[in-house]
Amino acid sequence: MYKNLTLYFVILFFGLTAPFIFPAFKVQLSILCVLIVLALTWNIQGGEMGYNSFGNILFYGLGMYLCASVQVGMFFPLAEWTESGGEKTFVHTPAQFFQGMAVGLVVAAIVPTIVAGLIGYSILGLRGHYFAICTLGLGVAAGEISGGIEIIGAGQGFTTPPFPNVGGLEARGEFFYFLSFFVLVLSFITIRAIYSTRFKLILNAIRDNEDKAEAMGIETMKYKIIGWMVSAFFCGLAGGIMGGLVGYIDSTDVAFDGREMGVFMVLMAILGGKGTLWGPIIGATVFHIFKEGFWTFFLGWQYVALGVLIVVIVIYFPEGIMGWLREKYPERFGEVVDEADRKAQVELK
């Protein structure tokens, strides 16, 4: 179990020192942490369980709105806050800001988990593409409906509380970076822990043949719902952090953004290799670097590039980076390779 301990310490050390090594990229690094969390949690459904969800964006957006609403609503009337738009007469004191953020993040994690548990029984009974389309509909419906609710800003959006003036110029970036890095570490430890138990085997059994798994006496529905709730917990947290980081919430462009974030999480997991622990992390990192480069130098063409990228990855690279590595270096993945047999196969080809 501890064979990769050095690797973990190197990554942890790098993660803790990254904002001081690259001080100009603090916001990008925080977004990267959030993206990795989203890809990791999507992988529980899409990779391990075989339920390709477009709907995890629902929990992300829900967490974003909840965290910001609680942070504002604890101290000021929410309706007046959203009505006043960008120019605020209310200002959070540092203590109020951090208290509100803490309570808001707890709510943003717990409520989506409960929602996932409640709708899980109905939604997770669907299979294959019906599940995919249903969750796609769920995400878009949430965006459209929240865009019509007055108290959270409706069409004009919701400005989250600005970071209080404490600790110098760099404090905001560092605060959000360490917050998102903490959530990333927490989600990685949780997911690694549950992947090392029977739970992962059950998820894989559901992916491979759900009817047989049920016939073997596994209560598949229970495990599917638990898996979804774990996803929802971390998606909500990630959404709450992202709301504070971006500073502005819009129903269809930031929170329930199925066209960006909802597709990104699927794409990152597939690019890295779905059904592996490290795949989503590698995929998210590669994708984020590619995306930022492209978004900076070819502004305006980003969606064209995204569309082409989706098609190319899905058609030519469905196994992802980890799948490619596994095919190339099977020994590294603990697969015993008979050299003579392998050579014979190569000769046959």
Partner: protein, 297 residues
């Protein structure tokens, strides 16, 4: 919430007529969806974007001084080749693969089309004015634009033509044979690759007709595609594959539902209610089937 609908019965009549005329258009798009789903086992998320592209063809004819109604003839011809092009480039590589791969690939095409249309035609909401005037019924209490009636009639004509074509022609027979059993059809000498390309082309052409009609009757916008995809998906699962009267009926039902949602909940919740209805229908079917220990396939 607004309960005018229940106080003034004429609004109810208006909503029903509007809904039925709109629903015929939805049914036409759903027919294309059912065709490719049944034959190729592909769910095309880019369906709505093909519709919008067809709409822009009619709109451009209108801009250059040609009456947009001719778009009904021109759009399907252009869209047929667009559809075949998409098939040759992307779809033929995902036909035999996992369904999720095809959903994701067409999702990519959808994003690509959305943005290309945004570049080419701008992000404004546009409509092609047909100048057909309006019809007044029941002492001017019910107002029907003639363009809506025109679009419903044209959709019905196209649907009937296509049904006859699928029954009588050689290609239609080949398509139906491939839908029943692609392997057997291949053994008996049907060029399934060609049949698939033709099916996707016909689907795109149908979308082109519907889009041209939508640009005359309603408005089009580069990002409005996804709701049309979801509507056609919903109509197909309610009706079932290969059930044409069912497609027509559930299309009209959806149209009426939308008009009432528009009146009662307000226009800002219209699209939201469509997507929510999809979720409700799927969950309802899931519980209905789970009683028989089956699931949606």
């Amino acid at each position: 919430m607004d309960f005018m609908v229940f106080q003034y019965p004429m609004i109810t009549v208006q909503a029903c007529l509007d809904g039925i005329l709109l629903g015929v258009l939805f049914a036409l798009i759903a027919y294309g969806m059912a065709l490719q789903w049944g034959v190729m086992n592909i769910i095309n998320i880019a369906q709505g974007d093909l519709v919008i592209l067809g709409g822009y063809i009619a709109y451009f004819m209108y801009l250059y001084g040609i009456h947009p109604a001719w778009g009904v003839i021109v759009a399907p011809v252009i869209m047929f080749f667009v559809g075949v092009g998409i098939y040759k480039l992307v779809i033929n590589k995902v036909v035999d693969r996992d369904l999720f791969i095809s959903i994701l690939a067409t999702f990519g095409i959808s994003i690509l089309f959305m943005q290309l249309m945004n570049f080419a035609f701008g992000a404004d909401v546009v409509l092609a004015n047909s100048g057909y005037g309006t019809t007044f019924l029941f002492d001017s209490n019910v107002v029907l634009p003639n363009s809506k009636i025109f679009s419903a009639v044209v959709s019905i004509v196209f649907a009937i033509c296509l049904v006859i074509y699928m029954k009588k022609s050689k290609l239609g027979r080949a398509i139906r044979a491939t839908a029943q059993n692609a392997r057997a059809a291949k053994i008996l000498g049907v060029d399934t690759e060609k049949v698939y390309a033709a099916t996707f082309g016909i689907n795109a052409a149908l979308c082109g007709v519907a889009g041209a009609l939508i640009s005359i009757t309603f408005t089009i916008h580069p990002y409005m595609g996804l709701p049309y995809t979801i509507r056609s998906f919903m109509i197909v699962i309610v009706a079932g594959l290969g059930n044409l009267p069912g497609v027509a009926l559930s299309g009209m039902g959806l149209g009426v539902f939308e008009e009432f949602a528009d009146y009662i909940l307000g226009t800002e919740f219209r699209i939201g209610s469509v997507f929510l209805l999809l979720v409700i229908i799927l969950v309802y079917r899931r519980f209905k089937l789970s009683r028989k220990r089956e699931y949606l396939k």
